[in-house]
C-alpha cells in the first residue's frame, strides 16, 4: 500500500494505479465532471487512463460547479 493525498486528505491505495481507477476508487459519481491536478499540474482528460499515481503523490479533484442564476 502507498500513501497518497487526495484533496488534502491522506489515502492508502495499491500503486501503481491510474487516475481513471483512482476516480472509481473514490466513488466519484460523475467522472466527466471532475478535473484533476496531480502534484500541481493539470492532467489532460485523455491521459487519465495512462497516468499512474505513485507513493507520495498529491491530487486535487476539482468539480465543475454551475450554480447561480436560475
Amino acid at each position: 500500500m502507498s500513501k497518497i493525498s487526495v484533496n488534502g486528505k491522506a489515502q492508502e491505495v495499491e500503486t501503481p494505479i491510474s487516475i481513471t481507477d483512482l476516480i472509481k476508487l473514490n466513488d466519484v459519481a460523475q467522472p466527466e465532471m471532475v478535473s484533476i491536478q496531480l502534484n500541481g499540474q493539470f492532467v489532460n482528460r485523455e491521459e487519465f487512463d495512462s497516468t499512474q499515481v505513485s507513493e507520495g503523490d498529491e491530487l486535487d479533484f476539482l468539480y465543475f460547479m454551475g450554480g447561480g442564476s436560475i
Binding site: 491536478q37 454551475g66 447561480g68
Partner: protein, 275 residues
C-alpha cells in the same frame, strides 16, 4: 472627486479602514463593474457593490423573476415575480445607493455581444448558472485582458477564483465545458440558498479588493467550500501551458456559444411562454 458630507457618512466604515481610506473609496466610486446574471450569485454581489458605492454597475440577464428564485436571489422580492430581473435589481440598487449608475442589459451574454459589453467595464463578475456562459466569460475576459471573478455553486458546495491577465484562467483548471447531458439538471441538483450568499459576498469582496488594490486577490488559487462540513479549502494552481485559451498554443482564439444544457433550454422556453 470631492465627497459630500452625506457620502463621507455613508462610506465612513470604508474610509476608516486604513487600507481603504478616502483614496480607496474614491477608487470604488470610480469603478465600473459588470455583473453577469442577476440570480443567486448576482443578487448579493449587486447588493454589496451598490452599498459600497461602486460608481457604475452593469447587469446583464435575460430572465424574469420566478417564484422559485426567491429562496436565494435576495435582490428580488415577492412583488417582483414576472418582472425582468435586471429591472428588479436596478430598483433595489437605486434604493440602497442613489450614487450608483446602473446599466441594464435585458438579454443573454453571447459570443456576438460579449466583447463589446465587457470592454466598458473594469471588472467582470460571473454570476451565471450555466457552463456555456461561464466559458464565454472566461474566453472573452482572457482575450480582452479583463479581470474577472468566477463563481459556481451546487447543492452545498461553492467555488470561486479570480482572474487577472497572466494568472491561471478558468480553462487552465477546467479545460472545456462538460458534456451537456452530464450536467445535473437545475431541478435535480438544487442548492442551499445561503450558499449563494456565502459565495457571492466572497466575489463582491474580491471586486472591492481589485478596485482598491488592497490585499491579495484569489488568483492562481481556487477556493472551494462545503457547507455541510463548513470546510474551506484553497487549491493552488498556476497558468496551464496546455490551456486552450491562454496556453502557449491556444486553440480558442474567438468566442463561441456552446450548447446549452437541457434545463437551460427549457427554462428559456418557459420564459418565452411567460412573455
Amino acid at each position: 472627486m470631492d465627497f459630500t458630507e452625506d457620502q463621507i457618512q455613508r462610506y465612513s466604515r470604508h474610509i476608516l479602514l486604513q487600507d481603504v481610506g478616502v483614496e480607496g473609496q474614491e477608487k470604488i466610486n470610480n469603478g465600473k463593474v459588470l455583473i453577469v446574471g442577476a440570480g443567486g450569485l448576482g443578487a448579493p454581489i449587486a447588493l454589496y457593490l451598490a452599498a459600497a458605492g461602486v460608481g457604475t454597475i452593469g447587469i446583464i440577464d435575460g430572465d424574469v423573476v420566478d417564484l422559485s428564485n426567491l429562496q436565494r436571489q435576495v435582490i428580488h422580492f415577492t412583488p417582483d415575480v414576472n418582472k425582468p430581473k435586471v429591472i428588479s435589481a436596478k430598483e433595489k440598487i437605486n434604493l440602497i445607493n442613489p450614487d450608483v449608475k446602473v446599466i441594464t442589459y435585458q438579454k443573454l451574454l453571447t459570443a456576438e455581444n460579449a466583447l463589446e459589453i465587457i470592454q466598458e467595464y473594469d471588472f467582470v463578475v460571473d454570476g451565471t448558472d450555466n457552463f456555456p456562459v461561464k466559458f464565454l466569460i472566461n474566453d472573452a475576459c482572457v482575450i480582452a485582458k479583463k479581470p474577472f471573478s468566477h463563481g459556481g455553486i451546487l447543492r452545498f458546495d461553492g467555488q470561486t477564483l479570480t482572474y487577472v491577465p497572466g494568472s491561471a484562467c478558468y480553462r487552465c483548471l477546467f479545460h472545456s465545458p462538460p458534456p451537456p447531458n452530464a450536467v445535473p439538471t437545475c431541478s435535480q441538483a438544487g442548492v442551499l440558498g445561503a450558499i449563494a450568499g456565502m459565495l457571492g459576498t466572497i466575489q463582491a469582496a474580491e471586486v472591492l479588493k481589485y478596485l482598491t488594490g488592497v490585499g491579495d486577490l484569489l488568483t492562481n488559487r481556487l477556493l472551494t467550500f462545503n457547507a455541510k462540513t463548513m470546510e474551506f479549502r484553497t487549491i493552488k494552481s498556476k497558468p496551464n501551458d496546455n490551456c486552450p485559451v491562454c496556453g502557449s498554443h491556444p486553440t480558442v482564439t474567438g468566442l463561441v456559444d456552446y450548447e446549452q444544457a437541457v434545463c437551460d433550454i427549457e427554462s428559456h422556453r418557459k420564459k418565452k411562454i411567460n412573455e
